[in-house]
Assembly symmetry: C2
Homo-oligomer: 462 residues x 2
């Protein structure tokens, strides 16, 4: 080390692993967004809570910003370090610490990947039900930072619902043990919930106690083809009224096109404009009859043109791949992503308005829609044409996001349903939160991070 | 009005209803605790959000503290006004404002009683599942202020889980519309969750959007007699493993004694030291067989000495009365109440320790236990003997609470599971929350209530 600040850090935490190679700085300095050039000072990889505290205290002593880093699968730039920050990677703190069968909780270090959490829960005959496609890479700490949602929210809620306790190293290096796994605890402000979705701006989550639950009942997966956008909510209503839905996901023909081009298997002979993948509990005749009744009801009304129901786990996985493979299939087109939500009841009007808006705004761009209709959450991916430059493309897309943000404000929606605000949506936060709310958020950050060193510039400017 | 401050208030809000009669001041100046002498300046009964805002702005202008007031069924002194505060009663703001069938939400004014919320939900074929004995008097705003729990937490969680959005008038009179009913919203700090359980210290909740759910399945209620305390967790385990529990409540023979004296019907010929009321989903043969299997398993192990299962709704209500009637039956003894929680897995050790502690501490007092075992929540009621003065009694009980708080600290429990901290538990907050956490709470209050006028002295001293 030649930087005296890093020498001081190693003096404060002699066993701390530090990386300063240019390749490491680039690797750890960014997330799945590719809009910023990584330029961190260094990457610290602590192995203990005490080392995390030492890093934060050192950062305060030297006025150095800290960017917490998990699996860096974020889509909002929340883990980008482009201004000489210290990246604090939790990747070495990735172990399960405790399983409690009576409490049905799993206590893990924040760097544990989501999939490893799934596996650890399953080993004990239980499940951690939050799930989404990035499961192999994303970390539970990152999930907490954005209150990650995913494909099972309609049944199990967001990450927030499954956090029984967490440990936070604050912006001053203090360790707070929040809620400690209690089910009932009415002892003042629930700082645990304040930390969830705070995107690393209040401190660093180092540990979490996760609630687990029983494995889901046996399910079937159904793929439905829809003739138009207008019937989407009708189909949702017909299925929700009759079945316990585990998932209800929608995507467009353009999405299917890209997934098929990426190797998935074609589900229908014909091409249809819209598709739904839904998963629901079965296991007895009444439920299977209810599924068929929902399907037939939709066919009779002309809301559904075709459908297929999984006959095996393998086929269920195949149908799911059509939906879950979308993000990966689009990655090479450097898509500009909108991740928005409204109340379910506001969906039809918002969808109609948005469809018209995007049709006008992007006549020459490939726009791919998909989303979690049952949660009021829509993902809009605009693909970059090869002949448009990266920066130009973002500028053009931002114009449309501005219009979209105005529509969201009218419909009382959110500019980020599950990706978080980070750097990408910072300019649009006021479409979702009032100036007074943002002022309160700034004030709260000041309390937990008085020197403004925890992931600064993310979420809002301080 | 002769007080110029009140004249100024009526000037600012001419239509505001104000009460200053001594009887009103006494009535509105306290909750179900009887330890403090009510002495508010006046009682304001606003009819609109704008009037609430006007009151808060006036309070800031005149440096007058505001005590928000719902049904005043609180057990922690959270709604006591004993120092010239203005009581702001929400009782005129008690209407349902909107029901949305697609979102399955009910938007209500904060003063709406819980039972009225239940009825409004049922009218639409849905339920609001948070429930407890004070349902007829308590208000939804008060439920939010303490994150009220109750008898269905094991199945449905606390109030927090059912709040899709809320409107808060902050300590400076600004109106914040928090989360606005969204299912997914990752746009920064979730101030909604910060407000829930803040006991009126951050502002006044004026409106809430509640999630509703499907009515529960048909259930049976079982009353079990237990030979000893030690087997309680075994019985819980045997039932939880086999059944979907809707409730699992425990009480002692002393509790039954008081409920019977208050008019309830004796369930068994013999006297048993401990009892459990449990409710679980039935509806098919497999589930009924599972219930019998759980019961027989417990009988065979000697964990249960006797039992009765409800054969009708009327009998179910009769069995429930044995548990739900306890608080009312004890009221005339001015009980000193402890409302504590630990993780379920910590229950056996904590119970044993607490039982020994209370046996030593209160050899001459009647101590009545009951609680929500499935949530790790225990209620300990110490009854005041007629020959001990009110103040003496509290002093003696506080000595024991100090020891209990130390035990809770060792077992990482909470000094208040569901009643809140208020005035009653303020001195013990540090048994549950660290000094650093309390400092953060104080800092956050400062952000939302810079002049310290929102329910001051509750939860912590500022």
């Amino acid at each position: 080390m030649t930087d005296p600040r890093l020498d001081a850090l190693l003096h404060a935490a002699p066993a701390l692993r530090l990386k300063t190679d240019p390749a490491d700085l680039e690797h750890y300095g960014r997330d799945w967004t590719r809009r910023w050039t990584p330029a961190p000072l260094a990457v610290a990889l602590p192995a203990t809570v005490e080392e995390v505290q030492a890093v934060v205290r050192w950062a305060n002593g030297h006025g150095i910003a800290v960017v917490p880093s998990g699996g860096r699968t974020g889509l909002s730039g929340g883990a980008v370090a482009a201004h000489g920050e210290l990246v604090l990677s939790l990747e070495r703190m990735n172990q399960a610490l405790d399983f409690n069968a009576v409490d049905r909780t799993l206590t893990v270090q924040a760097g544990m990947p989501l999939e490893a959490v799934h596996n650890a829960a399953r080993k004990h005959g239980l499940v951690y039900p939050v799930d989404f496609a990035a499961r192999g890479s994303c970390s539970i700490g990152g999930n907490i930072a954005t209150n990650a949602g995913g494909i099972r929210v309609i049944r199990y809620g967001n990450t927030r619902e499954w956090i029984a306790g967490l440990k936070l190293v604050t912006g001053t290096g203090e360790l707070l043990e929040l809620n400690r796994g209690l089910i009932k605890n009415s002892s003042g402000y629930d700082l645990r919930h304040l930390v969830i979705a705070s995107e690393g701006t209040l401190g660093i989550v180092v540990e979490a106690t996760l609630r687990l639950t029983d494995p889901p009942p046996p399910t079937n997966v159904m793929l439905l083809a829809l003739p138009s956008f207008d019937v989407l909510m009708e189909v949702f209503g017909a299925f929700r009224a009759r079945l316990q839905l585990e998932a209800f996901e929608f995507f467009t023909d353009r999405a299917l096109h890209h997934v098929l081009a990426h190797g998935a298997q074609k589900p229908f002979d014909d091409v249809h404009p819209y598709y739904v993948v839904t998963e629901f509990a079965i296991g007895d005749e009444a439920k299977e009859a209810a599924a068929m009744a929902a399907f037939e009801d939709c066919m009779e009304h002309g809301w559904v043109s075709d459908g297929v129901i999984s006959q095996s786990d393998a086929q269920a996985a195949q149908l799911w791949r059509l939906r879950e493979g979308i993000t990966e299939a689009l990655a090479r087109y450097k898509p500009y992503k909108n991740d928005v939500s409204v109340r379910i009841s506001a969906m039809p009007a918002f969808l109609a308005e948005t469809q018209a808006l995007l049709g006008q705004a992007y006549p020459h761009f490939d726009v791919v829609w998909f989303g979690h209709i049952g949660d009021g959450n829509l993902h809009i991916n605009v693909l970059k044409p090869d002949d448009v430059g990266d920066a130009d493309f973002v500028v053009q897309c931002e114009q449309v996001t501005k219009l979209l943000a105005e529509a969201l404000k009218r419909h009382q929606g959110s500019i980020s349903a599950e990706h978080g605000i980070g750097l990408v949506k910072k300019g649009y936060l006021e479409s979702t939160r009032s100036a007074e709310e943002i002022a309160v958020m700034r004030g709260i950050k000041q309390v937990l991070d008085p020197n403004g060193l925890m992931n600064p510039g993310k979420l809002f400017d301080t």
